[in-house]
């Protein structure tokens, strides 16, 4: 048993800014993170012996990424930093961790949960073939490993990441076959008023888009990826445009529809959840200052609702200030209020993004029975529909009956898509089929774990 009074889980922009704030007030928090070098996903750092510049890796965000990394480097002597450490369970002010095969328990009085996000995936037939990756994965391959996911790459889905990653690939010398954006141009026009609230971010999005077109990359809007073809690996992407199927030969596809929050730890901690229409997901509730429903547990960053890296930095600092105030420190109230106001402005922008890149409401109705939804347990849309036909419509019940979401990833990849299929086939609203509950261990543990004594 070891640990400090205050523990932060996740060393992305939110967790790092939270740690910095606590240190500034004289605390020595623990910062636990699964990754090798911290920074989170969007500011993920390349291995130490790689030589590309921050500008090459992060483009317009280079200075922000560097600032976050420099902060983590500076903090290391003042905090209990635990990289490559998985938090797999939590009970009664104790976190169960695993690092390099050794299990440990870390006590906390206060906890800041900054667990981030992964891609939101709406499967199409063929998505389990080698050569198909999430959009985030395709970006990690390039940023973290200097690799493209293939020789000829198609990018599909929607969301800001779609154009950003396609641009980064083309700029790095990869062959980008096409960008297939499921959101129509009209939606982006409708979103303009809300997007104008953050003109710099809007300008960057338009820049990527214009750059791709100027460099001869085909960008198709309002088209849906229908299936991925190939025998033992990808050979083509098939999409529908104006009712016609088009076949694009390629050897790799990256796809996603925006992001989903990583909420399992908040769930194990007993946090209240509420349906978020904006995120189309169940999210742990937090007040404007970052408090969860559980005493001593604070939420920051994309793990409690998708708002992006800038907001994560602010929310991390805000949660730390709130925590400090709650345990008796005199904190700068005007700073807290200013952060809250800036977060509200980003939230308005986020609504604009949702208008610009709307969720494809027809995805579930169009998903054929044979499409694999759960890639771990190999459960198809047809299997789920059959379970619904037997009278089950609550997602945890459906999971118990047909094993969807029960595999190694615990529904991280399939849970949202499974809920969409259940809602569609049971005639219920997506908010009415329940919330997939998290279970410990929230990620697989190897056999033969040693315990620290």
């Amino acid at each position: 048993m070891s640990g400090q009074d205050v523990v932060i889980v996740g060393a992305g922009p939110a967790g790092i800014r939270a740690a910095q704030t606590l240190v500034a007030y004289g605390l020595r928090p623990s910062l636990i993170d699964e990754s090798l070098r911290g920074g989170g996903q969007i500011y993920r750092r390349q291995p130490e012996n790689f030589k590309r510049s921050a500008k090459a890796l992060y483009g317009f965000e280079a200075s922000k990424a560097q600032a976050v990394h420099a902060t983590l480097d500076r903090l290391q002597k003042d905090i209990d930093y635990r990289p490559q450490t998985l938090v797999w369970n939590s009970e009664q002010h104790t976190l169960d961790t695993l690092c390099d095969g050794v299990a440990e328990q870390v006590r906390y009085r206060q906890l800041i949960v900054a667990t981030g996000a992964t891609d939101r995936i709406l499967p199409v037939p063929g998505w389990t073939l080698p050569g198909v990756y999430s959009l985030g994965a395709s970006q990690i391959a390039l940023k973290f490993q200097g690799c493209a996911i293939g020789e000829r790459v198609v990018f599909a889905g929607s969301g800001p990441l779609l154009y950003l990653v396609a641009y980064q690939y083309a700029k790095a010398g990869a062959q980008v076959v096409a960008v297939l954006d499921s959101s129509p141009l009209s939606a982006q026009a409708r979103a303009l008023p809300a997007l104008l609230g953050q003109p710099a971010t809007l300008a960057k999005g338009l820049y990527y888009r214009a750059w791709l077109t100027a460099h001869g990359v085909a960008v198709h809007q309002g088209v849906a990826l229908r299936r991925i073809e190939g025998e033992r690996r990808v050979s083509a992407a098939v999409y529908a445009a104006d009712g016609q199927e088009q076949v694009l030969p390629c050897d790799a596809i990256a796809f996603a529809h925006a992001l989903r929050s990583e909420t399992q730890l908040a769930d194990l901690l007993g946090c209240d959840f509420a349906w978020s229409p904006l995120n189309r997901a169940w999210l742990p509730t937090r007040d404007a200052a970052g408090r969860s429903s559980v005493d001593g547990v604070y939420l920051a960053g994309d793990g409690a609702g998708i708002m992006g890296a800038d907001a994560a930095e602010m929310a991390g600092e805000l949660a730390a200030l709130t925590l400090l105030g709650d345990i008796g420190y005199t904190v700068d109230r005007t700073r807290s209020l200013a952060l809250q106001q800036r977060l509200e402005a980003i939230q308005r922008f986020r609504r604009g993004l949702e208008t610009a890149f709307p969720f494809p409401e027809d995805w579930a109705a169009r998903a054929p029975d044979e499409v694999m939804i759960c890639r771990c347990e190999e459960i198809t849309a047809g299997d789920i529909r059959q379970t619904v036909a037997q009278g089950h419509w609550e997602i945890n019940r459906v999971k118990a009956m047909c094993r969807v979401g029960m595999g190694r990833c615990q529904g991280r990849m399939c849970g949202l898509a499974a809920a969409e299929i259940v809602a569609q086939s049971s005639g219920r609203d997506i908010s009415g089929v329940g919330r997939l509950r998290g279970q410990a261990p929230i990620k697989p543990l190897p056999f033969g774990v040693e315990t620290e004594r």
Binding site: T118, T128, G131, Y133, S134, G136, A141, G146, C147, C409
Partner: protein, 96 residues
């Protein structure tokens, strides 16, 4: 045939390893996923139909890139760095 294509950071130490007993090599700083998929096109067979899989999320969430090492450890290829002389083996998965 390789799945991933190297675009940058070519100038690194070469690290030898074995893949299913065959000699292979990667570069220092490669994850196991990168080292295997710049040489070949899959990482494991799926659990219920032995279909080839090559990872998906690259951020430790999808759990579809587990490989076995010579010392018996099972690790996620996306979040484990290659070391010299590692013996990496791929699990074929189960056929129905």
């Amino acid at each position: 045939m390789a799945l991933l294509k190297r675009l940058a950071e070519h100038d690194r130490d070469v690290l030898p390893f074995t893949l299913d007993g065959q000699a292979a090599s990667g570069l220092r700083g490669d994850t196991l996923l990168t080292a295997v998929l710049t040489a070949d096109d899959y990482l494991r067979g799926s659990d219920f139909s032995a279909e080839p899989r090559a990872g998906f999320c690259l951020m430790g969430a999808c759990q579809d890139c587990w490989v076995r090492l010579g010392d018996g450890r099972r690790v996620r290829a996306c979040s484990t760095l290659l070391e010299a002389d590692l013996r990496v083996s791929r699990e074929p998965g189960r056929r129905p």
